[in-house]
């Protein structure tokens, strides 16, 4: 046939569906661009969408489905780390490369090698430990906060981010006034915030996603806590501002992508995204766009073969980085990536670059 196939495995239904939606949006734009420009070497790029609800069981069901369909050359996914971990054995065993745009659990880099030591799973998203450390330094050195309280979502992302933030903060002598957890989908955070209020915390580090993050910011304001909010890429979505309204102001977050300093391609993507989906792009869509881009380049230049695609992907190193809209992506030996980090803040209801960056 004159098409090549890739799979996108993500949650399109269930509680995590918004994240799948972000990923889908990013990939779709990339694929449309490629096909509009004549496809990959004359072949159209086709996407097989696989819904796995962020559920490990479902992920472990779609993974063999993807793996056994030899016409699928690579996978963009999964969104959630637990789903990714459950699917990994199939990809490794059957030899199909997967790039996750969002999964941040450190365990992934330990379980993604086959017996020959080849890595089959990559990710173009920070590992949580990096962002946590980065923001701890920013809090201490740039924002000059004496004491910070930590709010984390009780999942792998939140815990990973929290642990690295707290670890680094202790090293830097930044006081941690308290650590409180919440679960996905929670709506009421006042009991935990009330505890924070009784401490001397001048900032809250939000190790979680934008939906809950916005509620926390709003409820803190209602309780009369006018503090600095900080977070990682999980907060990076316009919905954070929409839901948090004025309480979203005075938030600082680490992101891999900053529109202000971005390339023209990136700016074009942002505009196109807004045009198509009537909302601002977030890091998930940007990463997904790039992940699809990497796979496409690998197919085109590496060859339409699973092993070749993998080898090409593994070759995105300092010598031959991938230049995407999210900046330079470079994979290390474990399939993890290093990316630049920027700090964004919310001003007058908009994300803008923070006045002070840190490098």
């Amino acid at each position: 046939a004159d098409s090549v196939k890739i799979a996108v495995a993500a949650p399109f239904t269930g509680a995590a569906a918004p994240y799948g939606d972000n990923v889908k949006a990013g990939v779709q734009i990339k694929v449309d661009e490629i096909n509009a420009a004549g496809g990959l070497g004359g072949k159209t790029l086709e996407v097989v969408w696989m819904d796995e609800q962020c559920d490990p069981k479902e992920a472990a069901t779609v993974a063999p489905k993807i793996a056994q369909d030899k016409s699928i050359l690579a996978v963009v996914g999964h969104v959630c780390s637990s789903a990714h971990l459950a699917a990994l054995p199939f990809y490794v065993r059957e030899g199909v490369a997967a790039i996750s745009a969002t999964a941040t659990n450190p365990s992934i880099s330990e379980k993604n090698k086959d017996r020959a030591g080849k890595v089959w799973s990559f990710r173009n998203v920070y590992r949580d430990d990096f962002q946590g450390i980065f923001m701890a330094r920013y809090a201490k050195n740039v924002l000059n906060l004496p004491s910070v309280a930590v709010f984390y979502e009780n999942n792998d992302y939140g815990i990973g981010l929290k642990d690295s933030f707290v670890g680094e903060a202790k090293k830097l002598g930044l006081k941690i006034a308290g650590e409180e957890a919440y679960i996905k989908g929670a709506q009421d955070f006042t009991p935990q915030l009330t505890k924070f209020k009784a401490t001397d915390a001048k900032g809250i580090f939000l190790a979680g996603y934008y939906g809950e993050g916005a509620l926390i910011a709003a409820q803190a304001k209602k309780l009369g806590m006018d503090v600095v909010k900080m977070g990682g890429d999980g907060l990076d979505n316009v919905d954070y501002i929409k839901l948090g309204a004025t309480s979203a102001e005075n938030t600082f977050l680490a992101v891999p992508f900053l529109e202000d300093v971005a390339s023209p391609e990136a700016k074009a993507f942002v505009a196109k995204f807004k045009d198509t989906y009537k909302r601002d792009a977030d890091y998930m869509s940007v990463n997904a766009y790039d992940a699809a881009g990497m796979v496409a380049e690998a197919i085109l230049k590496g060859g339409a073969d699973r092993a070749k695609v993998r080898d090409y992907l593994a070759g995105f190193t300092a010598a031959r980085p991938y230049m995407g809209i999210g900046g330079k992506t470079v994979f290390d030996a474990k399939g993890d990536c290093e990316k630049p980090a920027f700090v964004k803040t919310v001003k007058d209801g908009k994300f803008v670059a923070a006045p002070k960056q840190m490098n």
Binding site: A17, Y182, Q187, D188, P191, K197, G211, L215, L223
Partner: protein
């Protein structure tokens, strides 16, 4: 801090109670664990927001319209999904309810998208978010007061309907024996539809107020609400409206104090532990009466 935590718990509890009161109606009458109630609650919020943004209606008319829509939705649900199962074994409608809940939740995702949405705040009366009361450093907004008083009024009103009116007695009668109720000339289907109508419009009210209060709504928000309402209704005693209210408050306060003084990791755990403890101590819930068939 204790006062603040109590208020936190009370607010949360009243919200649970608000959801549970409508839930408890249907639950008491056809003893159906109506998992789809959570979805009605979610639809209420989305309907209201849609009426505001798409048709530019002011808040209260939009809310009334949403209530009517949800009442219709509830009645349709009854007619198409539950009515054919009136004489089926008890768990059959429970499975239907689960199926309906999956269906409605995913339908909402397609219609409104899966992403959380803010409630159109601009349509709200301005005073909602202003402080109404302050005591020992704890502030209460008008919205909070509104939710408190509405819940209490609804509870008292519903309880009066159920215990004092003929329709209410008919509801309780058919809860116990539908065949006998029909033999009394009670139109069983109409009473049940009426129950769904009231229960669903109250569900809509709850959904709207909760979304206004937290300024967020999303298609999966019904699950948690449904489960907490179920827990509150059972805790209070099946079919007892004041029980549902008290059950909701007990759960809310347990959660807040659990998060505040035990561990936020076990926030729900504390609530469930309290729930289990209460039920072990009072096997028919706080206000439930053991209706024993004589030996």
């Amino acid at each position: 801090m204790l006062e603040q935590q109590l208020i936190n718990g009370l607010t949360l509890g009243v919200i649970y109670a608000l959801i549970a009161v409508g839930y408890s109606m249907v639950y008491g009458v056809i003893e159906l664990i109506n998992f789809a109630h959570g979805e009605i609650y979610m639809f209420g919020a989305f309907f209201c927001a849609t009426f505001i943004t798409a048709f530019g209606l002011p808040f209260f008319p939009a809310m009334a319209l949403a209530m009517i829509c949800c009442a219709c939705l509830g009645v349709l649900l009854d007619i198409f999904a539950y009515r054919p199962l009136r004489r089926a074994p008890r768990l059959a409608p429970l499975i239907t309810a689960i199926g309906m809940s999956i269906f409605l939740q995913n339908l909402a995702m397609i219609v409104w998208g899966s992403r959380p949405k803010p409630f159109p705040q601009e349509a709200l009366p301005a005073f909602f978010h202003e402080t109404a009361l302050t005591f020992s450093g704890v502030q209460l907004s008008w919205l909070q007061l509104f939710i408190f008083s509405l819940t209490i009024v609804l509870m008292i009103g519903l309880n009066l309907v159920i215990t004092r009116t003929k329709t209410g007695t008919a509801m309780r009668a058919l809860a116990q024996n539908q065949r006998a109720a029909a033999l009394m000339g009670i139109n069983v289907n109409r009473i049940i539809s009426f129950t769904f109508m009231i229960g669903s419009s109250l569900g809509a009210v709850a959904g709207i107020l909760v979304s206004v209060f937290y300024n967020t709504m999303y298609p999966t928000m019904g699950y948690n609400a449904g489960v907490k309402a179920f827990a509150a209704a059972v805790l209070g005693g099946i079919g007892s409206v004041p029980g549902a209210m008290l059950g909701g408050i007990v759960l809310g306060v347990a959660e807040a104090l659990g998060a505040g003084y035990v561990s936020s990791l076990y926030r729900d755990g504390v609530a469930y532990a309290v729930l289990i403890a209460v039920i072990l101590f009072r096997p028919t819930g706080l206000f439930g009466k053991a209706v024993r068939q004589k030996a």
